[in-house]
Symmetry: C2
Subunit: 342 residues, 2 copies
């Protein structure tokens, strides 16, 4: 009835506490026969290690690091905030969290930073950078030092990370497309697709998702070629002016994130555009205000609090060699309108 302890295991297996400990903690010098008896006893009694007691005895602390892209980006800023918030709450859970910013645009610099990490002082890393061959190697190196690695927000599909914490951006793009299709019920026309840069795989995947759903379910809507701003405010304005002039049938704007502020500014300066349906990615101070102002119809978002907590839980579970609760770690693609804003 009551939870079995190592003592119960020892008694059941007919061995000493020391032997149980050797088996449980993977030490050497145990005869296979005895190891088997211990494992059988664990199985039979349904023993699970009391992680908290173990951590107490071990004086364990979990030392985690978030590697985030530097530079002015509202989305990353909200993530960093959420990390610090979670860190301040989790101190009581024995976890120490740090944040490191790297120049994600420069693969060389990223790798330099990753290589320079003192892996002996780390238990886990959550990494949010674009995948390059060099990054892949750096991650292999980190893993080989026994440090757990999760891909964070942006997946690193070829780096063989221990886990990915984030949403499926292809589905996110489909969700955006589905919303646009429903918001423009029975209407025909074109959609302007904008982003700051198309190098991030996120944008590419979102675009794929958008195209797929539009061609399948809403062929009456046509997405224009993606316009990339590259941090150039002139460019976005010119693009918009051009689009509104050229495309009589322009009905909507889809902003794939990382360019929302520029897009909104340009939108405000061109009064002819305020009848457009606007769907954007990422809930930040900027998009939040735009939702309240009715300048954006809907935002596709991922809850940054969940993202951060999920990454921390997953890293902890890896360190404890414990199973993760998949349903809880599934990050939701959220749809935010003004009325369910939080």
């Amino acid at each position: 009835m009551v939870k079995p302890t190592v003592h119960d295991i020892a008694r059941e297996a007919g061995v000493s506490l020391s032997t149980v400990d050797r088996v449980l903690n993977g030490r050497t010098d145990v005869r296979p026969k005895n190891a088997e008896r211990v494992r059988a006893a664990v199985e039979k009694l349904g023993y699970v290690r009391d992680t908290y007691a173990a951590n107490l005895a071990k004086q364990r602390r979990y030392r985690f690091l978030f590697v985030l892209p530097e530079g002015l980006n509202h989305f990353v800023e909200t993530i960093a905030l959420a990390v610090h918030e979670a860190a301040s709450v989790q101190v009581s859970d024995r976890v120490d969290v740090e944040v490191m910013f790297v120049n994600a645009a420069d693969p060389h610099a990223v790798v330099e930073h990753l290589k320079r990490l003192n892996l002996a002082t780390l238990d886990g890393v959550a990494i949010m950078v674009p995948e390059t061959p060099q990054v892949r190697d750096a991650i292999a190196h980190i893993k080989s030092a026994g440090v757990y690695v999760v891909a964070f927000v942006s997946d690193l599909p070829n780096s063989n990370c221990h886990h990915f914490v984030g949403i499926d951006n292809f589905s996110a793009g489909k969700t955006a497309g589905a919303l646009l299709g429903r918001f423009l019920r029975n209407e025909t026309g074109s959609i302007l697709v904008v982003t700051n840069s198309m190098v991030a795989r996120d944008s590419i995947e979102r675009r794929f998702g958008l195209d797929e759903i539009l061609s399948r379910d809403f062929p009456r809507l046509k997405a224009l070629p993606t316009v990339e701003f590259h941090d150039d405010p002139q460019r976005i304005r010119a693009t918009l002016d051009h689009a509104v002039a050229d495309q009589a049938g322009l009905k909507a704007i889809y902003s794939m994130g990382s360019g929302n502020a520029a897009m909104l500014e340009a939108l405000r300066e061109n009064a002819q555009l305020n009848h457009l349906v606007v769907v954007a990615h990422d809930l930040t101070a900027v998009t939040r205000q735009a939702l309240l102002n009715d300048e954006i119809d809907a935002v596709i978002a991922q809850n940054v609090g969940h993202l951060v907590r999920s990454a921390l839980r997953v890293l902890r579970a890896k360190c404890d060699r414990t199973l993760i609760f998949e349903a809880q770690e599934q990050i939701r693609i959220e749809i935010i309108v003004r009325e369910n804003l939080y």
Copy 2:
């Protein structure tokens, strides 16, 4: 630098460990002056009790109970499932969870069940029943026994619970209205509002939310008087046939939950209705399938996993007299379309 312990507090305050313990655990026999010195030391060193070590020493277990409405209801079923799932994961966190079903339609029976609880064997209760004066009294009784009570899914605003875990149904109704308004962009017409029963405060609040947003932002859409099924499949069919015949301008159906299956069945039997926009509440097996079939455009939902885990976390925090992390316990009003279904 390192986390201070009770020993550090004792040294800092110049008193013995026993005295620190007396202060920390609210026992008697401490001179005010010494109590103050202990409190000052706690403050100065930033001491926080190590809950896990404390629970270990106390052999503590958290014994929680969910009180759910009985009867065939897909939403409640998914909640019960989520409770059992969470329970099986949380055993390692020293929490024991049970579920009790009561006939929520009979206030007398509810109170009978609540009164018969063995409060000595409980630390916390999550209650999902309609509020009545009798329920209010029963909750006061439970609280007076030192058991923590959270209102679950349905708020009990007059019962002075320790917490409410759930969404703001007024906002949920507004969200539904906002979606309908956007899905029916530039269109004029009426919306059929259906539910199984209007006695639950949830439905009432959702209806208020809907009306408010329609009249403010989408006056071109008119919500018809709420139709209540009362578990009568004939009634819903008749209502729908009637509505489609009478209301030439019928554009949408808003199902406020707890009647989705009947609504969908009737919808399937009336081919003239399949051009309607349909927004429903609660993500269950039924609505999930309907989303996949394109019979429902969007579902307003609350994540049952989050609901249950939040209730458990809040109850734990109450037991530990620990602060809750508000941002994490805020239950989101989710908008689900086929593409972001989970």
